[in-house]
Amino acid sequence: MELDVSTRDDGIAVVVPRGRLNMVSARQLKETLSDLVAGGSARIVVDLGETTFLDSSGLGALIGGLKAARQAGGDLRVARPTPAVVSVFELTNLDRVLRARESVETAFDA
């Protein structure tokens, strides 16, 4: 998996995991999200449009990032999930906690 991280002009951090988000790559995502929050970026969008696989480890990393962001007064939102990702959100009933947004640009609009 490759992980792209950028920060927009409005201060929102955008994280793009490309490829498979499994036990190995989940550690990398968790550290990246934790570093962002520690560095003052507590509003984060995770763009899942290029995440081809997600398991419970990847899910755990997203939940960990969500909790860290909220504790710092921000939030973590997920955008553009692929069918593989949606399938796991639904099986775990986490589609409410990790409500999928249609686009990265508007993920923090509402």
Binding site: R20, M23, S56, S57, L59, I63, P83, S87, L91, N93
Partner: protein
């Protein structure tokens, strides 16, 4: 929850497909060290299997792949939890696993076995943890995605059988 997940294993609940698998010439088999790096190899095996079996639809592929990786992740994690507690592990005693994959007209099947620590679990009572929990979903996720999830420990080895029905 799959019907056959109710037991802890044993001959009574043994999936019939295991006999078919052992004799299937087109099954894919891998034996390797139980380390995290091997997961990509198993993803590739699944890609190969699906490429040759178009009868396995995308929704089934996603659920099956996720379940296989969850169980493999469980094996790798337990192997490491044990080995990292030891001062030094003799390479000849390293934790290993074997995986077999097969697709038929009726189902897609995986068996995994390993020489790791005994797994203590009740497959009949797998529930999702609190929604903000960061771990503990793996087996419940696999159980909800599969039609068959079966486990037994025999002669120092853990044996798993996973299957999704087709059609």
């Amino acid at each position: 929850m799959p019907e056959s997940a109710a037991g802890r294993g044993g001959e009574a609940g043994r999936p019939a497909v295991l006999d078919e698998l052992a004799a299937a010439p087109h099954r894919l088999v891998l034996s390797a060290a139980a380390d995290p790096e091997v997961m990509d190899l198993v993803h590739s095996m699944l890609e190969h299997l699906f490429a040759h079996h178009p009868q396995v639809t995308d929704p089934i592929r996603m659920k099956f792949e996720m379940s296989v990786i969850e169980i493999l992740g469980n094996i790798v994690e337990h192997a490491y939890a044990h080995d990292s507690a030891l001062p030094a592990v003799d390479p000849s005693e390293a934790r290993r696993f074997e995986i077999q994959l097969l697709a038929t007209d009726r189902e897609v099947v995986a068996t995994l076995s390993d020489n790791g620590m005994p797994v203590s679990l009740d497959l009949g009572d797998l529930s999702m943890p609190d929604e903000l929990a960061e771990s503990g979903r793996g087996l419940a996720l696999a159980a909800s995605a599969l039609d068959t999830l079966w486990f037994e420990r025999v002669e120092g080895r853990n044996h798993w059988c996973l299957a999704c029905n087709l059609g």
